[in-house]
């Protein structure tokens, strides 16, 4: 990680209100290329809301987003995707009735020209999908298999593979490992590591301190819509981090038997 670099994304003082609910009350975060930035915090702290403002799903109520130094205003997820921000949402953006390859390229369909007309290049889509999925360790029956027939873990993997494939500059992962088994989790963490080493910025949301510590370079903790600050890897112990994630409140007694980290 190279803090001397200019930040790729600067989120300045982001606020987001939903009617009478204040989900974000002024959060500032900087994302650098090639780092894995972990976003941690309690349930309802505003993590998902925060990354959704970053990926164009929500427009912030106030605050500024600088992308590569220039102020940016994403009106639509499409704008963010075009700017190079790929996101895997907590509620997976997969359509069960559609085939894997159609899902993979949804919103980013490859086109081939036939005279003046542009058509969906199914052959290319199928090929890319199969090879990308193979890279992630999933052997599909075929590119036209419906996503609905995949297991939860496989679906998660499709979503991540898609984001990696299109995620030119920033890859945002919202709790990608929450439903995954041990093996799949290890695989996702390995992928994060790999992606980061290619110079892509990764924003990684998790509730698992150990997962965060395994791949994270910097850790930002949100609490009740505000940031509790950002820490460098090595500057913070797991226990400190865990206390921060719990919102600074004491945890129930049982915890000891867990050896400190939940």
């Amino acid at each position: 990680m190279n803090p001397e670099h200019a930040p790729l994304i600067e989120m300045k003082n982001i606020e987001k209100h939903f009617g009478s609910v204040i989900a974000l009350a002024g959060v500032s975060v900087e994302i650098y290329p090639g780092e894995c930035h972990c976003l941690l915090g309690d349930n309802g702290a505003g993590k998902s809301t925060f990354i959704k403002t970053m990926s164009g799903v929500h427009r912030p109520t106030s605050g500024e987003i600088l992308f590569e130094g220039r102020p940016m205003r994403f009106d639509d997820p499409r704008d963010a995707i075009e700017a190079g921000i790929a996101t895997v949402y907590q509620d997976l953006a997969m359509i069960p009735l559609m085939s894997v390859s159609r899902n993979f390229f949804m919103g980013n369909e490859p086109l081939k020209k036939v005279g003046p007309l542009k058509f969906f290049d199914h052959a290319l889509a199928a090929e890319v999908t199969m090879s990308e999925m193979r890279k992630m360790g999933i052997n599909l029956r075929g590119p036209d298999q419906a996503v609905g027939t995949l297991s939860g873990g496989e679906r998660q993997t499709v979503a991540i593979a898609r984001a990696v494939h299109f995620g030119a500059k920033v890859l945002i992962l919202d709790e990608p490992t929450s439903a995954l088994g041990v093996r799949q989790t290890a695989n996702v963490l390995a992928t994060i590591d790999k992606v980061r080493k290619q110079g892509i910025a990764v924003v990684f949301i998790t509730h698992n301190v150990r997962h965060a510590l395994a791949v994270g370079d910097r850790f930002t903790v949100l609490n009740r819509g505000k940031t509790l600050g950002t820490a460098q890897r090595g500057q913070i112990t797991p226990d400190e981090l865990q206390d921060l994630m719990a919102g600074g409140q004491e945890l129930v007694a049982l915890e000891d038997s867990l050896g400190g980290t939940v």
């Binding site: 359509i95 949804m106 369909e109 058509f119 052997n139 695989n187």
Partner: protein, 374 residues
Amino acid sequence: MSETPTVAVTDDERVKEMSAFRKALIRPELGGICGTIIVFTLFLLFAHDSGMFNSQGIMNWSVVSAQFMIIAVGACLLMIAGEFDLSVGSMIGFAGMMIAIFSVTLGWPVWMAILVTFALCIAIGALNGYIVVRTGLPSFIVTLALLFILRGFTIYLPQTIERKTIIGGVADAAQGDWLAALFGGKVLTGLFSWLGEAGLIETFERGTRAGQPVVDGIPMLIVWALGLVVFGHVLLTRTRFGNWIYASGGDAQAARYVGVPVNRVKILMFMFTAFCATVFATCQVMEFGSAGADRGLLKEFEAIIAVVIGGALLTGGYGSVIGAALGALIFGVVQQGLFFAGVESSLFRVFLGIILLFAVVLNTYIRRMITGER
């Protein structure tokens, strides 16, 4: 680290392999294809000597099926995009009435009447879509409201302007109009008169047209139907926009997340449905020369039924235009075929209901095989 080779996926042991033949067979259209085969077989067995399969008979159910197809294509794309439109029938009545009012009552040239009507109806379609998209209300309710509003105007306007609910004389006004011919004319007339002369199809026995073939060309209605089916099919399966249609209907939120302009897709599909309804209405008015307040009654259901028979999913995200076209064909053939077979006409609805039930059950079974849905 550049590969992750240790994670081998070998799910196979727990899933029986599906034969390649079976795999090639199961597709959304399968229900429609089976249905078509069954229906034709039945009628060939039981009504082969009723005139159903002479040139005139074929033309008869072809035209009826083509009519259904025109509105089914619109309804199909819209349904795949996750919405449906109950105002199609009223829109047909309304569009026809507008053309008649513009051209006959106001005396505009017919091409202008047609163009303005298209613009108006597509705008209403857009309004439908806009309300659905903005309020997030189910399209059932929004388009039900439009069903009443449009039908109300279709009765009120001619009633107020002309003091009747039927306006005739469009045929005279449309004489020689270039645009009218695109909807009301016939193509391949040369071929058919040659066929007639060659004795390959029957000719009229008497009257002013004695000696001419009984079928003297392919009505533009059929050309429109085929054109729309091809357009819809290519749009849906071969283009980026087609993928967006599936995505919008499959899961609008998911589609939005990956950057599909879902609202635009839905509104455009409502507009396309309105366009199809207007094509239907224009062909009808140009063919028959008059517009009535009763035109298009219940056509919305017929469109939806054709689409559902053709294998689309009422809840969106799944279906095919070819299937919908086959559904329209089945519907048309059954409707006219029952007449040919001489079945008591009030039983037609009973048959229709039973076929509908049978078709959806078959389609559901096929879809579950394809998608592995549980």
